[in-house]
């Protein structure tokens, strides 16, 4: 994550200009973070319209509170925190705090490569979108955004065990969702090789 943070570094001079209320500075910040914030919101919400609204609200909040930002902390970490909170608030508001309540799955490492190795990005995105909203959000926050289980538990108002179980269940569900896709792909490859 440190690499990701360094790529999203904001010059102190730009922050100062934004603090002074310079609209052009806000625009630069917006352009720099539009994609990361929108992607985060989209991955958590799986809905383009909601993701757009969350991005808008998070950006506005950040701009309104720019004078409270402490420059020694990574700007992206601060913005990401606000965007994550906004996305979670949206899930609560839309009553989409649904989770995977299936039986606990004992994950066993397959001898074969996991299905996401063989699946293309689109298939993985689709499978991710099929997960229950909160399960997907927890999975994304843990695996991609680098939040720890206690941090996630705090953010979603649940226990650490809940966070851990959602990561395990979400991973298992992704495996299930992707298995038919990748089996289909491998069958096609074998068929074409036989020809």
């Amino acid at each position: 994550m440190s690499e990701a943070f360094s790529q999203l570094e904001v010059p102190a001079s730009l922050i100062e200009r934004a603090r002074a209320g310079e609209l052009a500075a806000f625009e630069q910040i917006y352009r720099r973070f539009e994609r990361p914030v929108y992607t985060l919101a989209l991955r958590m919400l799986a809905n383009a319209e909601s993701a757009h609204e969350v991005m808008h609200d998070a950006m506005l909040k950040v701009f309104q509170r720019i004078d409270q930002y402490r420059s020694d902390a990574p700007f992206w970490a601060w913005l990401r925190q606000i965007a994550t909170n906004e996305a979670l608030m949206r899930l609560r508001r839309d009553r989409r705090f649904d989770v995977d309540t299936g039986a606990e799955t004992d994950e066993i490492a397959d001898a074969d490569a996991p299905p996401w190795v063989r699946a293309d990005a689109l298939a993985l995105e689709r499978a991710l979108g099929k997960l229950p909203a909160l399960t997907r959000s927890v999975l994304w926050m843990y695996h991609v955004e680098g939040y720890s289980h206690p941090e996630i538990a705090d953010l979603v108002g649940k226990t650490v065990s809940f966070s851990k179980s959602q990561v395990a269940r979400g991973t298992a569900r992704l495996r299930d969702l992707l298995a038919p896709v990748t089996e289909h792909v491998s069958c096609r490859i074998q068929t074409s090789m036989a020809l």
Binding site: R35, F63, R65, R70, A109, P114, V117, L124, H143, T171
Partner: protein, 216 residues
């Protein structure tokens, strides 16, 4: 840390998820944001250039209510030492109405109860005003909040905004529970800000600026 047994040895799930391409929104949010920022900036300049902490219109209405209620308040209270007991981060209880509670504040048929409600309301509004004044005065000198505190402060400010919306929609002065909630939230915000103000070591005594009836 991700578990390699769960995530697969060849390509862990985190890596596969991170490898997903970033997505751009179909429409930029910037034009709307720019308009909102420009409007807010203009409004701030018109109202007061010193105003950095938001003060909702509901506060002005509250102060007006307090002023209206104050003559009645003085008649009923007599020589009370203080309207508020010095309890940190708690909802103040009016000295003049020791036997009242939130449930009887809406009973407008009893003049004594109505007067007690007025006393409580005025006290809460005054306290709210004092806390906001303190927050405004110290925000310039306070050290920036840490990420976690800032997130908490943001959440509290949002909740205050929600309370203000409800207060703004309130037609009568029956918003005593809302004002209690508002004061409690402002006290929470004050606690957060007080620590950062102390850290800033600006040379100004935070306690001197703090509302006199708020001990920390």
């Amino acid at each position: 840390m991700p578990n390699p047994d769960i995530d697969g040895a060849v390509m862990p799930l985190p890596e596969a998820l991170r490898a997903l391409p970033q997505v751009a929104p179909a429409q930029s949010a910037w034009p709307q944001l720019a308009a909102q920022l420009a409007a807010q900036s203009g409004a701030r300049d018109r109202v007061s250039p010193r105003r950095r902490y938001f003060i909702p219109a509901a506060i002005a209405a509250g102060i007006l209510l307090a002023l209206i209620a104050s003559p009645l308040l003085l008649q009923l209270r007599g020589p009370q030492p203080s309207a508020l007991s010095p309890q940190p981060a708690t909802i103040p209880q009016p000295v003049a109405s020791t036997n009242t509670n939130a449930t009887n504040t809406t009973n407008a048929t009893n003049p004594q109860t109505a007067a007690d409600s007025g006393v409580q309301l005025a006290a809460l509004q005054q306290r709210s005003q004092e806390l906001e004044h303190w927050l405004r005065e110290t925000s310039r000198a306070a050290a920036p909040l840490s990420g976690q505190d800032l997130a908490a402060a943001t959440e509290i400010e949002d909740m205050i905004g929600m309370v203000d919306m409800q207060l703004g929609a309130q037609q009568s002065n029956g918003g005593l529970p809302l004002w209690r909630h508002r004061v409690a939230l402002l006290e929470d915000l004050t606690v957060l800000r007080y620590s950062s103000y102390s850290v800033a070591a600006s040379g100004v005594d935070a306690k001197a600026l703090m509302p006199t009836n708020w001990a920390n």
